[in-house]
């Protein structure tokens, strides 16, 4: 579907993207992860034909950049970071303009498409509003509608959830997941949990290089993951609970955190590698008359990989 080979981009003497090669298959959701300034946006901009690569090749289907750049552009729907739209246009006028440029000539067809998009992206109430008056989340939705105007085979989204509130993040993620069933999606983010929740495959970029490129599951298997145990107790007091936990292993990294309910006491216990203290904790607490409300282990594999991979070069 998309084949990127030895892609390099220099801004004057600064090398933003250094020899990146990625292949993206049809129907895949690829997450580009990386710290700020890693080269995610530059990579996406080259894929969409906005920037010209300093060297390297991009193939999309049977088309080559830059000879078939117009054909590639019409295959790709692109949502730039923070959706920079024309502020003085109404949402409807803007979508109409985009539809015309993307070659939907027929008035009826345009209208049908707007109805579908306004359903999918939740635009029905804002069609008659100037884009400049919309909140960031709403602008992002208009941008998403723009990207999906012609129902393109490939969607490229640059940090689609940055700056949104939790409801909007959940909505955008569900949209990505639902359209990702039939489309190829590439999106960049620096939120690990988001990549974990939505992507089939993750490529981690640091200092302009791909430092890891694998399925989410395989990536997690790569490291002896740290894990975090969340424990909530009822009917216990903090001091006694702490000393009890310490009695399992004096080196245990226990931190009391704010409980989610009033009469609870909550702890977060860090354990490294493949150690699992859950059974010891359970057995110890069984001896008391406290009640375990929560005892859960969260793997922090992705965080660990991310930190290791992006730190070693820096």
């Amino acid at each position: 579907m998309i084949e990127v080979k030895n892609l390099t981009k220099y801004y004057k003497n600064f090398c933003a993207v250094n020899n990146i090669s990625i292949t993206i298959r049809k129907g895949e959701i690829l997450g580009l992860l990386g710290p700020n300034g890693a080269g995610k946006t530059t990579t996406l901009r080259m894929l969409t034909g906005y920037l010209r690569p300093s060297s390297g090749t991009i193939h999309v289907n049977d088309f080559n950049m830059p000879e078939d750049v117009l054909k590639i552009k019409s295959l790709i729907g692109y949502l730039p970071e923070s959706a920079p739209l024309y502020h003085n246009m109404l949402v409807y006028d803007y979508l109409d303009y985009v539809a015309r440029i993307k070659g939907i000539e027929d008035k009826e067809a345009r209208y049908d498409r707007f109805l579908k998009l306004s359903d999918l992206c939740g635009l029905s109430g804002i069609m008659d509003k100037p884009i400049g008056n919309l909140s960031k989340g709403l602008k992002q939705r208009v941008g998403l509608a723009h990207a999906m105007m012609t129902n393109p085979e490939i969607l490229i989204l640059d940090e689609p959830t940055s700056g949104l509130d939790p409801n909007q993040i959940a909505e955008i993620r569900s949209i990505i997941k639902s359209i990702g069933k039939e489309k190829t999606i590439i999106f960049s983010t620096h939120i690990l949990s988001e990549a974990e929740a939505t992507c089939d495959r993750i490529a981690i970029i640091n200092n302009g290089r791909v430092v890891a490129d694998d399925t989410t599951l395989n990536l997690k298997k790569r490291v002896q993951a740290d894990s975090l145990i969340r424990l909530s107790l009822k009917g216990a007091d903090k001091e006694n609970a702490l000393s009890l936990l310490k009695s399992i292993d004096p080196m245990l990294d226990v931190e009391a955190v704010k409980p989610s309910e009033e009469d609870l006491i909550s702890f977060e216990i860090q354990s490294s590698g493949d150690q699992d203290f859950r059974s010891e904790i359970y057995l110890k607490i069984k001896e008391t008359d406290w009640i375990i409300v929560q005892l859960a282990k969260e793997s922090q594999a992705l965080e660990k990989i991310f930190r290791e991979l992006t730190r070693e070069v820096a």
Binding site: Y50, R52, K73, M89, I101
Partner: protein, 234 residues
């Protein structure tokens, strides 16, 4: 071709959404009206010669103000990225914007049609120079619009775009008045490069293919330079 039309219509409408259009048109009408009619009754001639002789100077300030936003604003708010990632060629974009600006300047001239109407009430107007003058004005406007667009494509700052545009248009306007300083060997070349003499011929009612060719070349060179700038900057 359709793409060019879509962009041109969108940009043309954009002028009238913001107050810019109304401000520029009012300013244009006030300035031309004042300069023209302040001496009209003194000269006591029923023609528009003074109006058209002023036009190049006024255009070289007004038109860069019209065109300065076309690329600079897009670059500044970032919508340039959206524009360039839609299935459009650089030529489509540059020409679409060029036609929008030219159409806007032409529509700015429409209210001034009341001058010849008014003058024809009080005296005998020769239609030739008037018609020629308006045709010439549109050619001149097109040439200056293309220069303004070129200036706008150079920078993301609208003020800088305006100043560069004014400098270019003003240079073309006054070039034939600077012939005095030029070595005599290149005089004919410099005179041909200046816009005023070509405009003056057309506005006398003489439509010469050399003058038309001159304006078309200015448009071609500026739009082509814009294309090169767009290509080099991405």
């Amino acid at each position: 071709m359709k793409q060019i039309k879509t962009i041109a219509i969108k940009e043309f409408k954009d002028y009238f959404i913001s107050p810019v259009a109304y401000i520029v048109i009012s300013l244009f009408l006030i300035v031309t009206g004042w300069f023209f009619f302040s001496t009209f009754f003194i000269f006591d001639r029923a023609d528009l010669r003074d109006f058209f002789s002023l036009l190049p100077i006024i255009f070289s300030f007004i038109i860069p103000a019209v065109t300065m936003r076309l690329f600079s604003e897009e670059k500044n708010i970032g919508s340039y990225e959206i524009l360039l990632t839609m299935p459009l060629s650089f030529t489509d974009i540059a020409l679409g914007k060029f036609f929008a600006a030219t159409m806007f300047t032409a529509s700015m001239l429409i209210p001034t049609l009341s001058y010849p109407l008014f003058i024809s009430l009080i005296g005998q107007v020769d239609p030739g120079p008037v018609i020629g003058g308006y045709i010439g004005s549109v050619f001149l406007a097109a040439a200056y619009c293309s220069l303004g667009i070129f200036a706008s494509s150079l920078t993301r700052n609208q003020i800088v775009a305006f100043i560069i545009g004014t400098a270019l248009c003003f240079t073309l306007t006054i070039l034939d008045k600077l012939l005095f300083f030029m070595p005599s060997a290149i005089l004919p070349v410099i005179e041909f490069i200046g816009a005023s003499s070509h405009f003056a011929t057309i506005s006398k009612g003489i439509i010469d293919s050399r003058d038309i060719l001159y304006f078309v070349s200015v448009v071609f060179i500026s739009i082509f330079s814009t294309y090169i700038v767009m290509h080099e900057k991405n």
